[in-house]
Amino acid sequence: MSITVRNLTKFYGHDKAIDDISFDVGTSEILGFLGPNGAGKTTTMKIVTCYMPPTSGSVEIDGYPVATHALEVRKKIGYLPELNPLYHDMNVLDYLTYSARLHGLKGPALTGRLREMVDACGIGSVRHKDIGELSKGFRQRVGLAQAMIHDPDVLILDEPTSGLDPNQIVEIRKLIRRLGRAKTVVLSTHILPEVQATCDRVIIVNEGKIVADGTPEKLQQEFRASDMLSVEIAARVENPMTEIFPVLASLRGVEHVEFQGTSDHVHRFLLHTLKGTDAREQIFRQAVNANWVLLELFREATTLEEVFHKLTMKDEMESDSHRTRS
């Protein structure tokens, strides 16, 4: 079950919420939709789920255009909207039954599905309670159960872990991974570790535009400006700044060196090297020559956080300067 989004644009009045967004999601892929608040994540999801039409552009789910086949599309989609809205005065089973009926389930198929979802989402102990009495973690499980009650091929989850405590977040993530195994999942978030923990692929949006698209690893590589090497050397020297620092700084490919401190004759340095060069071998040989003990030598990876920050902050600064210029 694939999702095809082409040239999607949405205006709210004069405000452009999303601007010419195109992407594809393949079958049984878990896609993370990442972006700062107000980037257009929720708007895109609302269009994909047929809540509202785009100003222009198209969305197809498994070949069905959303614009003309809304009912067919809705049957294939399970949706957990932002903030997980629920009827607080209904009890869990009644609510799930209601959702299932609206998806056309009835009779033994309905009870079977109900039992499956209650088990899968771990809400058996609260199934006769009113939703309003539940903790946030349980409510989120009910929201997920509701989204999957009709066994949809596509799951659209808008910030499924927002407002949960760290333990609940881990549990919900596990649940999404487990239940979403055979499904196409799109989940939005502004929490970065979430993407790394759950998603096969990431799309970063900012100000209504896609600014990056790829696996988390690929994005980390692509947006690495320079490589960083962390070096820890044990050596009995008087002053590491005059005896070790210049040696490291003179190595080929090293742009500059940060001294990070000394404790008990162990000296730590951070080397910024040009992209594509590898100074590790040289460091090793130098250490052997000078009779230093190399305690640690590793590449510092760019975190997705840095990629995200770079992509979304840069634009902000640019648009700020546009504003001051005009």
């Binding site: 509202m52 909207p81 009644d94």
Partner: protein
């Protein structure tokens, strides 16, 4: 053809699902009981305190009181139907389920109408008591109940429309009240209107048609009036629900 029938059946079953859920939520919360008790108390008091004074075995007075009681009871019943869904965001889940907006509107409409109908049932006691006490002309009473039921439907449809306009229940109540009050007052202010407008306004006013029915004359023109105001309000509700699409 069979596809059309299938769609029709699906719509019906969706509306029925929503109807059941809404009716259950009236009776699970205090709303239904408060409505039933308050309605019966007010109507009963006005009816009982006058029926012996008038010394006539009729429900005419009750049929005059109930439209006035409806004015605030019905908007109170309908105010939460759509506004609450919008406020809590559940409307987003509801409209992304595989159903038509009209299924939602119809399900909710019939649930509220059923509650209004249920509020009428206990007043049959008064019918019973006057039937014991004196000679009753049954025609006007049957017509009166039919009229009250249809009027309730019209008010519910208008209240539901009001509820679709806002996410604030209090605002929904006030808008609903203003609409039904205007409809109710029209034939009471005819006196102040220019002559050429009178005919039109009289036809639009709900009391004119209601009083025709309570005389025991069930005229299709009056039924058509009730059903068309009801239908128009429901249509406007569907349109208002689709406003998100703009």
């Amino acid at each position: 053809m069979s596809q059309v029938m299938n769609q029709y059946r699906e719509s019906l079953s969706n509306a029925h699902t929503i109807f059941r859920k809404e009716l259950a939520s009236y009776f699970n919360s205090a709303i239904a009981y408060v409505v039933l008790v308050v309605f019966l108390a007010i109507v009963g008091w006005f009816h009982a305190s006058n029926v012996f004074l008038a010394n006539v075995a009729s429900l005419r007075l009750m049929f005059e009181i109930i439209p006035a009681v409806y004015l605030f009871v019905v908007p109170a019943i309908t105010m939460r139907l759509l506004s609450e869904e919008r406020k809590s965001g559940t409307i987003e889940l509801l409209v992304t389920k595989p159903l038509h907006d009209a299924d939602i509107v119809l399900g909710k409409f019939f649930a509220a109408w059923a509650l209004v109908g249920a509020a009428l049932l206990p007043t049959l006691i008064f019918y019973g008591t006057i039937a014991v006490l004196g000679d009753v002309d049954h025609g006007p009473i049957i017509g009166g109940y039919l009229g009250l039921f249809l009027m309730g439907g019209v008010y519910v449809a208008i209240g539901l429309f009001a509820s679709s306009l806002t996410e604030n229940q209090v605002v929904a109540f006030i808008i609903g009240f203003v609409f039904v009050f205007a409809l109710f007052m029209l034939d009471k202010v005819l006196f102040y209107m220019p002559v050429w407008l009178m005919g039109v306004l009289e036809y639009i006013s709900i009391d004119y048609h209601f009083s025709n029915i309570t005389r025991g004359v069930i005229d299709t023109r009056d039924i058509v009036y009730f059903l068309s105001v009801l239908g128009l309000s429901l249509y406007l509700t569907v349109v208002s629900l689709a406003r998100r699409k703009m």
